[in-house]
């Protein structure tokens, strides 16, 4: 690869909260492990960023099985946020990827505002973490199970608490399971977020008709994959109109064209999720396809962001 790559490299560059990304393609939390698992399948340095599996203050075992079910053009999951915990991540997982040549973004969650703050604090000094992505789709156990991500006041509280607990850029990952996404965008912005990312999975359910039982042990789960993409594009478009911070779009991205839909709708960057389960190097292929598109059309990501024509 010669000078063409050099030219397109600049064309793919984006900046979010002062962080320069060589390309706008990251991997979505929960679909890429802690990063190192994918090193045998690709050059991790080809990615704009890696968002690692959601981290909690203490390790979590996750839900009983069955945890996944295939659905038309998608899948339902109820993993239950199984993870090694923030300390083990810093000690054993982060060293494996901190020199991979890409941004490592730590996705964090908790069951109380204090949990979020403590996880954020522990990651603040960790060498190799570029930013935090705050998953607000968890129930607040102290507040009787209200989901942080569906109540704007709760969202504001958790985002501002994390904001005060870290010097790292803060990305807030929004849930699509709300009536008006713009309200949630504003709540996160009021809390001091540097960017928002969306959409997380959509609540869904599959029933085994013969047994008359839910397929998942937890009855309901989160739907992902190309089945949800049109919903995701719509919500990213709405969020981008309301947001003054950058928007990171995701939801069923399988190809560069899919990524372009999100960028044109207003996303500064995208995340590839479920696709990585099917093709481990799916995100790299999306980045390469994007480079090809930009070079062919002599344009840049920057020029395409929010370039949707509606008139």
């Amino acid at each position: 690869m010669g000078p063409v790559v050099k030219k397109t490299k600049a064309a793919t560059e984006v900046t979010i909260a002062g962080l320069k990304f060589k390309n706008p393609v990251m991997t979505a939390s929960g679909t890429f492990g802690y990063g190192a698992e994918f090193a045998p399948y690709m050059d991790l340095g080809r990615l704009g960023g890696i968002v690692v599996k959601g981290l909690s203050l203490y390790p979590r075992q996750g839900n009983p099985g069955p945890r996944i079910a295939e659905t038309p053009c998608g899948m339902l999951n109820a993993i239950g946020l199984q993870n090694v915990g923030v300390d083990d991540f810093i000690e054993r997982k982060l060293p494996l990827v901190r020199n991979a040549g890409t941004h490592i973004i730590a996705n964090i969650f908790g069951e109380t505002v204090e949990d979020y703050m403590e996880v954020a604090r522990r990651l603040d000094g960790a060498e190799g973490v570029s930013a935090l992505e705050v998953n607000i789709s968890c129930p607040n156990v102290k507040k009787g199970g209200i989901v942080f991500g569906t109540d704007p006041q709760e969202a504001f509280k958790v985002v501002s608490a994390v904001r005060k607990s870290t010097s790292l850029p803060v990305i807030t990952k929004l849930s699509p399971n709300v009536t008006d996404i713009k309200v949630m965008v504003r709540a996160a912005e009021d809390g001091g977020t540097d960017a928002v990312s969306l959409i997380n999975t959509i609540t869904g359910m599959v029933i085994d008709v013969e047994r008359r039982r839910p397929v998942l042990a937890t009855a309901t789960g989160g739907l992902s994959g190309p089945a949800i993409r049109p919903i995701a594009v719509r919500m990213v478009w709405q969020a981008a109109q309301a947001a003054s911070v950058p928007v990171i779009g995701m939801g069923g991205i399988m190809s560069a064209r899919d990524a372009l839909e999100f960028i044109i709708a207003g996303a500064t960057a995208v995340q590839v999720g479920t696709a990585s389960f099917i093709e481990p190097d799916a995100a790299v292929k999306v980045a390469e396809g994007l480079e090809e598109y930009l070079s062919k059309n002599e344009t840049t990501v920057q020029d395409l962001i929010g370039s949707l024509r509606t008139a």
């Binding site: 890429f32 993993i79 990585s276 099917i278 481990p280």
Partner: protein, 272 residues
């Protein structure tokens, strides 16, 4: 690791049963490993499906396959499958010359046998497929095969002549003894036995219990829905018995990356 493999053959073995040969140079395959196959390039069905590797193709007959440390490459692999849903129905319509995406070999296969042990293989129906390479490597011991009826005994054909004693149990009594394969197991075991089992969960649970009672080691190969096959989606979790020192950190094991072969006593069969 991700390979586009050409289909060499996709032959019906019996009604609804197929033998699929794929041309792909895979590194050493250990008995009990699996591959993830993408049956369609489209979006529905979306996910790859796991299939146990039946055998490797293109190597001299009689050569030791899948031995640890061997760097021999085979020209291809073979998997057996039964049409049970959308994915396998699509797969059964594939013709030689078409290509399939193959990811693998994946998972930890069966561990090497302890010296002096007496191997007993227990297979339930299609659960026999991941035991072929193992049977071939062992070249001795006993294979206990359980099926619904005589109609499934064609699955034993390739196992004859490998040096294992074969005993059959069918639910309707049309071949071998009438009853469950685990009934045969009780009479086969000594404390020196090592049991390798693959089949329905009920059979595996019983095999683990019977082996435990006889003081024999039992290794089970589990099956679970999985999205990735490489230990990241965490979808194929099975409940493992917690060790005291582990506290509650690790109740779950992943069939794809921790298995698919597990010591029977590690699995919490009641909460599986």
């Amino acid at each position: 690791m991700e390979i586009k493999a050409e289909i060499i053959h996709n032959d019906s073995m019996a009604k609804g049963y197929f033998k699929l040969g794929l041309a792909c140079a895979v590194p050493e395959v250990r008995p009990g490993q699996f591959v993830m196959l993408r049956v369609s390039d489209g979006l529905d069905p979306l996910l790859r499906r796991p299939f146990g590797i039946y055998r490797t193709l293109g190597q001299t007959r009689g050569r030791t396959l899948g031995t640890r440390g061997s760097s021999s490459k085979s020209k291809g692999i073979e998997v057996l499958y039964r049409v049970v849903g959308k994915g396998t129905a699509i797969l059964s319509g594939k013709r030689p010359g078409e290509t399939l995406g193959v990811l693998g070999p994946l998972g930890n296969g069966f561990p090497d046998r302890a010296e002096g042990s007496n191997p007993v293989l227990v297979a339930g129906g299609m659960g026999i497929a991941p035991l072929y390479l193992l049977a071939r490597r062992l070249g001795e011991g006993t294979l206990l095969f359980g099926a619904r009826s005589k109609a499934e005994t064609f699955l034993l054909k390739d196992f004859r002549g490998l040096g294992l004693k074969i005993k059959t149990a069918t639910e309707d009594g049309s071949a071998g003894i009438k009853g469950l394969v685990t009934g045969l197991l009780e009479n086969e075991l000594t404390p020196e036995s090592i049991v390798y089992a693959c089949g329905p969960v009920g059979m595996l649970k019983a095999a683990a219990a019977i082996s435990g009672k006889a003081g024999a080691r039992c290794l089970v190969s589990l099956e679970r829905s999985m999205a990735c096959g490489i230990g990241v989606c965490l979808g194929c979790a099975v409940r493992a018995k917690a060790h005291k020192e582990e506290k509650e950190n690790r109740f779950y094991k992943m069939v794809c990356s921790d298995g698919p072969v597990f010591p029977g006593e590690e699995i919490d069969w009641d909460l599986l």
